[in-house]
């Protein structure tokens, strides 16, 4: 391992240790309740950026993947009393299959058409779930949390730590892709798909891979939400706000590097939590919109754009 990798994994372990220690030290449940949402958005934003940032395929169906994760967990909990780990793992598998489906769409659709198709997909899945009585239908379903496992003293604290684990999984996956030739291949096909293909890049295989990984992570992030809220209904599980928030977080942070969506999710997620407590949860959406406009106009490369050196200009105009 090079020095960079050591630093990264040291940071990841430190992050998990701090998360674990906090669950022991802090009595109040609220910080974990709020922190869980921020961590969840980090996973979603990082996962989104694997397809939307690296490969340039803008997925508006984050809510489809999230909702599929929620309902996979609901189904498993109701049908088999499956433990949380099984719920998350199965959600990841279902999400990856859904990702494969989205990936096949990229065969025929690019740009805005791909994005619209992902919205359509979300609506189709939400409608199906709404009409599925077993998991509660339109009215939703109440869930009983199983007893909490040691060393945690509350279920929310455990979910907080689980989501922290998912953050590490998502970020290390995104980092591994970025550092490999897969990342370079995805960037190439984002810049110019035909040129990439003529340069030997197996574009279809890379796109499918990006869709599968992104989908698996998003659905995995959604799975614990069922037990977090102890309730699930199609309206909230497939809420379009997930798509919009995640897209805004990735774009505001910057998609050129995995740290971008992490920063975006922390900043926007924390702001949203703060506003939800101090003003109202409706103001969230307004703030999101205003910040997105400001960044698109003022910093199209996101927060990352401030830190990256401008491209080397050779004294000539392009």
């Amino acid at each position: 391992m090079d020095r960079n990798a050591i630093a990264f994994w040291f940071g990841a372990v430190l992050f998990l240790v701090i998360a674990l220690v906090m669950t022991g030290l802090i009595r109040n449940e609220y910080p974990f309740f709020a922190g869980y949402v921020i961590l969840q958005f980090i996973v979603l934003a990082v996962a989104w950026s694997i397809l939307g940032g690296y490969a340039g395929y803008v997925n508006f169906g984050t809510n489809a993947f999230f909702g599929v994760g929620v309902y996979t967990a609901v189904f498993l909990a109701k049908a088999f009393d499956a433990p949380l780990a099984v719920q998350i793992a199965t959600a990841a598998i279902v999400g990856s299959l859904l990702g494969l489906g989205i990936g096949l769409l990229t065969l025929r659709m690019r740009g805005i058409f791909f994005s619209i198709a992902t919205i359509a997909l979300a609506i189709i899945i939400e409608t199906s779930i709404t009409n599925w009585r077993y998991v509660g239908g339109a009215a939703g379903i109440q869930l009983q949390r199983p007893p909490v496992t040691v060393p945690f003293d509350s279920y929310v604290k455990m979910l907080f730590f689980v989501q922290a684990l998912l953050v590490v999984v998502a970020v290390s996956t995104a980092r591994a892709i970025l550092n490999s030739r897969i990342g370079r291949g995805l960037h190439a096909l984002r810049d110019d798909e035909l040129a990439a293909e003529c340069t030997g890049v197996p574009t279809l295989r890379l796109k499918l891979l990006a869709c599968v990984i992104s989908g698996a992570l998003m659905s995995a992030a959604g799975a614990p939400a069922a037990m977090y809220l102890q309730f699930a209904n199609p309206d909230s599980a497939f809420n379009l706000n997930y798509s919009v928030s995640v897209l805004a977080m990735a774009l505001i942070g910057g998609t050129a590097h995995w740290i971008g969506p992490v920063l975006g999710a922390i900043i926007l997620g924390a702001t949203q939590q703060l506003l939800a407590v101090t003003i109202s949860s409706e103001v969230n959406v307004l703030v999101l919109g205003v910040m997105l406009v400001l960044f698109v106009v003022g910093a199209p490369k996101g927060i990352l754009g401030f830190f990256r050196r401008a491209p080397v200009h050779a004294g000539k105009r392009a």
Binding site: R181, D192, A196, E197, C198, T199, P202, P311
Partner: protein, 247 residues
Amino acid sequence: MNAASDGPLLRIDALTKSFGGFVALDNINVEIRKGERFGLIGPNGSGKTTLVNCISGALRPNRGAVLFGGEDITPLPPNLRSHRGIARSFQIPRPFKSMTVLENLMVALDFAAHRDLFETAAHRRDEAMSILKKIGLAAKANVATATLTQVELRKTELARAMATGPKLLISDEAMAGLSTSEVDEVLDLLISVGGGNIAIIMIEHIMQAVMRFSERVMCLDAGKIIAIGSPAEVMANARVQEAYLGT
């Protein structure tokens, strides 16, 4: 060696491509030898770029076949054709615009069929640098492609194509829009770059360049071959003069 290796490098066999009712290529038959410098001319809309697209895999023909090294590659996607040794540049440069010049070449080397020849990323980087030196772009290696001039973009395309390790290089109007001295520069590069081992199909409108470059020239008009032979023969052909030079 087997029979295939003695045959032509590229064989276009009864190739037909139509877009709706418009026949862009009509029953094209042609063979290209290993290391041959082949000029492809014809008026605008005569089917030159369509032919290139059918060879590189961007388009599938309606009928006929493309054989490369004796093997039928008609059903293969562009990336697998690239792995077999077909590289191309584009009429309008299509660099990976978020990357530097060197990174553009690294894409090719990262996914090339001969990737195993270079053990580590450092070896691939060295190979990319040595290609850039040959092309005369070493000084621009770490420059963003967005800041390049037209001639530098053309060279980047050429360098990226070379980095895939081609046996056949298709240059689609690499000299369009360049000044006279730049045309000579790119032409010299095209002639020297393969060292006689790489067959090159050059599409070009600049006649002096075609004459100087080509061992053989083919002229297309309205999707048909109207002349093929040595540059002097083709230029002297009355149909070529009529169709191409418009006299």
